[in-house]
Symmetry: none
Subunit: 541 residues, 2 copies
């Protein structure tokens, strides 16, 4: 019999306290739908009493058809010295139209005196009155016990009295908050265990990641008897973030046999994590546990052969179970088994005796010696494979390019690129300015290609990285350029290596464009099938 | 009485298994010095038996003067069916010249049979023979018990026999590895406790972050009796990374009263974290616990006034203790305290009322806003300070530079730079070729300066790094260029930031040259004190 743990997501409220995280009302509504599809039980949408934008959210979210999730509004206990029904903040919780509210109150005696400057007794009364008032107005109430762990350590008796006031007034859940994020798992476990022995309603846990242990703290609290876990998608939140639900869920469900969401919905975790990163305009850390691009990536040759035989050797859970996938990185440290695996993925029969396979192996060896590293440039690697297997055509060739850069005294920079290409047997000469030489080249190349391949307008460069390979020669040494491109849906990465940063960038640039054209070959119409022009196009490389 | 926990850093070995993390031998040597200054006890430098590049590291690291750290080489137990002294991998550990080796062996019965295909008895013998052989050759031996936690859960008796073999043969430490990273803290605690009751030598812990609990696991193991903790700076490592020492250290030392490093060295954690991010060309997550830019950032309103009155309310530890700083996001008062601290180090009287100090503060704020980060560019920072305190003269000024790049069909590249300078009141117009635009600029600049400052022939650029700051704009976004220069004795680093990579490089380049001339000002003879030429030189920037 698996026990249920209830999920309380606060991405839209506490998550937006994270530096650089900002969500519009539309963004929030999109995320609400995804969280509901995942099977989250409570979605905290905002603080209507502190933010007018949040009021609009609560109005519009009523139009959204939700399967399971209860939309929750955040607020605080009433102010000291007034009645609950006179408190504007509590009134706004009711006005927001939600069925559930999470209100925070002080449980640390020091905070009661210093932060709100009232008596310990009045604070207990504030908690009681506020919970009761919301209950009487038909709301389910979750009580967020702010600073609970610090309070407990400083004055256990008072901290307990505070949460018991909330329970007595009818709170359905007492969520214990590690507000400053500094508590360690063993303390969380002991304290939650004590609370669970005194409280009869559900106990919840709300952790922050200041000690880099928020996931462990949340898990420890559930093991100690808590049954609601608060957190955010991808761990967004103030300072170092909140507990990351994307990691808490699989730990609880796959390793400790709790039920959080339906078994099948675990496979949505990877796509939801990515979706929220995109909406919040945050770059997705490739090493993010469970859902990151590198989470099931294998590099060393030895590891790879072992993983192919027995995945449990280097994988703590099955990547497919999370909607993620195993990846084999092609790199200097790798043996042939990595290569075999990749080739299979793309349906190439790889046979060491076959001339195409031999050619590919040799090319890779050569390229790696030059400084190519394909682990982060799978699109370039796929082109390499296609070329070795003669399944390749050039969509354009280069005649020449020229770049002019000028800085004149205090005047602004000027950077221009001239490109001469051969495209579909036609000569194209074009020029463009840019914010730097590679940017100018990129602009000129697109300008030349767009008339032939209008689809190219959909793609753009989303990241550009440069690494110097042999650093003893500094600016004369080899550089490795990695370019990431996107068309809004998919992303792909390409690589170029050269002693000249411009050339290296060019190589990565044309791989990126050629890859995109190859992937959309069926959509390309040959608009200019002229044969009469004299085209001197040569290899791009 | 505080107990000692020994730190075993594997940034240079396991850390480089992380996707996108790649370190040259020079990079590794730089990181070694920083780790030694921090007070790390063991630095694992690489795997000499698997990688020829690592052999060069072990040779060159012998020239580095270390205060405390023991350089350690990584390897495996001997192959099955041969003698230890016939094993090439063990021989290379001895040849590498280190005083300590960490060798891994199988402790999971399933792995013994499946991965290396030998008998359980032979594996015990392999462990015993290999440890003994290295001991007999004068090495301290740390035994890395691979897959220990999975092994223990599958066959406790065999896993224990395996580590007892290593102990019997003379290993100084048995490091228990959670190789696939899936174990949770409560299991780690129980198993390490059991091991500590059976083993008399030191027990170590080596965790991976696949469950997002590597820091908690490491802490739990120490609480259970382990006294060595293995991990990497910033948590780099395969898949989701290794345990992050930058978080493990303050948790153990500030919260659990263990000794890891000397108390004063805790303040180095922030700068070392940033330094390694820069060297490894990784972007530093702003929400990184303890050392991130947002780790002690407070968003407006209630939190801020509370924090100013009582920092313990929203800060689990003191930011200054880690070399970090509190930030109030409304007024962007970013990490200046480090920099001011540095200014003091160079004997500048810093007083907020003084106009020079004010100017410096404002300039830093401006520059940081532009994307400058002086952690890894102290020479540029020293120039900035000198300029603010009016202790500065330009050794040359720029009139203009022009760069011409041309790729013509299959022909070689041509890259030329033309530079017009004003040096000692004389106009200098010169041109040079180069292997890339920055290299050409560098050549032309030197060519123009050498006749006036022959000392410049002694310096050269030893490293060149580029980072894209705002990655959403790719090649149109801002870049940060870091240049490291050397004259064979000393090294210094400079920085430039611009939307144009050429301009950013130029800024770092002239800082580097100006810094060198300033440092050797007394050796400079003014050979060309002409006053008659009309020199239109303007600011270099």
């Amino acid at each position: 019999m698996r026990e249920q743990v209830f999920l309380f997501d606060t991405t839209l409220r506490d998550g937006t306290q994270g530096e650089g995280v900002s969500l519009s009302v539309d963004d929030k509504l999109k995320i609400v739908e995804k969280l509901d599809q995942l099977g989250v039980h409570y979605i905290e949408g905002g603080w209507p009493g502190s933010n007018p934008k949040d009021m609009e959210f609560f109005k519009r979210v009523q139009e959204v058809n939700l399967e399971k999730a209860t939309i929750t509004a955040f607020g605080s206990t009433r102010r000291s010295g007034i009645k609950a029904d006179e408190d504007e903040n509590l009134q706004k919780l009711i006005d927001s139209g939600v069925k559930a509210a999470a209100i925070f109150g002080k449980t640390w005696d020091f905070q009661v005196k210093e932060a709100i400057g009232t008596t310990l007794d009045e604070n207990l009364q504030m908690i009681y009155d506020s919970v009761l008032f919301l209950k009487q107005n038909g709301l389910e109430v979750i009580f967020d016990a702010e600073h609970f762990f610090d309070g407990y350590k400083n004055n256990r008796q008072y901290a307990m009295e505070a949460i018991l006031s909330a329970e007595k007034a009818g709170a359905s859940c007492i969520a214990l908050c590690d507000t400053n994020g500094g508590t360690l798992p063993h303390e969380i476990y002991e304290i939650v265990k004590d609370v669970c022995s005194k409280v009869t309603v559900q106990v919840g846990i709300h952790c922050h990641n200041d000690g880099e242990v928020a996931v462990a703290n949340s898990v420890a609290a559930i093991q100690a008897g808590a049954r609601q876990v608060q957190g955010t998608v991808n761990g967004y939140g103030e300072r170092c973030g909140n507990a990351n639900l994307i990691s808490v869920i699989p730990n609880l469900q796959m390793k400790l046999n709790f039920d959080c969401i339906s078994e099948g919905n675990l496979t949505k975790l990877t796509s939801i994590s990515k979706y929220v990163h995109e909406i919040a305009n945050q770059s997705a850390p490739s090493n993010q546990p469970f859902v990151g691009k590198s989470a099931f990536a294998h590099k060393g040759g030895m590891h790879v052969s072992a993983v192919l035989k027995h995945p449990e050797t280097y994988e703590h859970v099955k990547p497919e179970a999370l909607g993620n996938a195993r990846r084999v990185l092609v790199s200097e440290l790798s043996g042939q088994s990595n290569l075999l695996f990749k080739a299979k993925e793309w349906n190439y029969r790889f046979d060491k005796k076959d001339p195409s396979s031999k050619k590919l192996l040799e090319t890779i060896k050569e390229k790696e010696h030059e400084g190519y590293q394909y682990e982060a440039a799978e699109a370039s690697f796929e082109l390499l494979v296609k070329k070795s297997f003669d399944q390749w055509k050039d969509y354009f060739t280069l005649d020449y390019y020229k770049i002019f850069i000028e800085k004149n005294g205090e005047q602004a920079f000027s950077t221009e690129a001239v490109v001469k290409l051969c495209v579909q047997n036609e000569v194209v000469l074009t020029a463009a300015e840019g914010n730097g030489p590679v940017n100018a080249l990129d602009h000129a190349l697109r300008k030349g290609l767009e008339q032939f391949y209008p689809i190219i307008k959909n793609m753009y460069l989303s990241d550009y990285k440069v690494r110097v390979l042999d650093e003893t020669d500094a600016t004369a040494s080899k550089v490795r350029v990695l370019i990431e491109s996107s068309d809004g849906n998919e992303k792909w990465s390409t690589i170029g290596v050269s002693g000249n940063i411009i050339k290296a960038s060019w190589l990565a640039l044309i791989d990126s464009v050629q890859y995109y054209l190859m992937k959309h070959d069926s959509e390309i119409e040959l608009n200019h099938p002229k044969q009469d022009e004299h085209c001197l196009g040569v290899s791009n490389h």
